[in-house]
Symmetry: C2
Subunit: 168 residues, 2 copies
Amino acid sequence: MELEDAKRKFIESWGKLGSEWGINRTMAQVHALLLISPDPLTTEEIMETLSISRGNANMTLRDLIGWGLIEKQHKPGERKEYFFADKDVWNIAKQVAKERRKRELEPVIRVLDELSKVTGDANDPEFSTFNKSVTDINKLAKNVDRTLETMLGAEESWFWGGIFKLFK
Amino acid sequence: MELEDAKRKFIESWGKLGSEWGINRTMAQVHALLLISPDPLTTEEIMETLSISRGNANMTLRDLIGWGLIEKQHKPGERKEYFFADKDVWNIAKQVAKERRKRELEPVIRVLDELSKVTGDANDPEFSTFNKSVTDINKLAKNVDRTLETMLGAEESWFWGGIFKLFK
DNA sequence: TTAAACTTTCAAAAAGTTTTGAAAGTTTAA
DNA sequence: TTAAACTTTCAAAACTTTTTGAAAGTTTAA
């Protein structure tokens, strides 16, 4: 396969995977494009390569910055803004886990905590089934939360320094 | 909060979480409803409770069966089919991880393997950046895959029997 | 058989999400 | 200042996904 075809395929696949995991397809594609770019790119270049509009490119780039996956870069003597992606896959995984924990896990835990407080007659199967499911899910969610916190919190934890280094 | 309000809120939250993770909202809601139901429910009851059409209910129930999250049940002397959900959260997590691995991780690994084979001039930054990102992501994906396989494969592995039992 | 009870299908409609692009806003060099 | 270069916004349009519901299919008891 030619390098250009391979790049296209990578961008397409990354976009598809993103959309299956609740991440907007274009956002994943822009990220993919920057991941395989040796140099930072301008909004213009991104628009052109992916055939997307200026508005879309701008919003997507801002979102990616919000996720901590890309950064703006200024070249001396130039007006244009350049964008580049962190290329360390562990940082990327860490960053995505961190953001999803904050944006999705935490709100769910808040709701589950509230629902765990609902009281009722322990002999009523309607109540006891509800209560068991909610408290079980709450326990699981909190364990996942705690585990992520430990794993992601310290810059050089046992986790990143130890076990997972084997994987690299 | 009243039990009925709490049930409604649970179904709503579960649906929202599902859609943030690429699972159809209705599917997550039907699952939530069955999770907190002490008894199996009929298609009719599900349609009614969630205000969805027969067609939607039927398709969603089939999908959930396909994900291994719910089962059909027959009551002796009755024509209707009843549906009930496995209520063990670890089974649920396991099942979802298993399915997503099969449906999404495996196809991505196939593409990455193919893209890893692309050859080029190591001094060309275009090629070397592409190659490094692709092979790094491939390594990560394979490690995740292997880890999941080990964790999910054996019915009573060290994983489920050991470490994670602490979490329950 | 038959017909009632139930399940499944699928094309069209509705709902939800993403994208566009022109206009407004901002920044900078001169 | 000014105007050129660039970025941001947002309502409307395009696109995607989900849902509907009526019709077709299937199963069962008699």
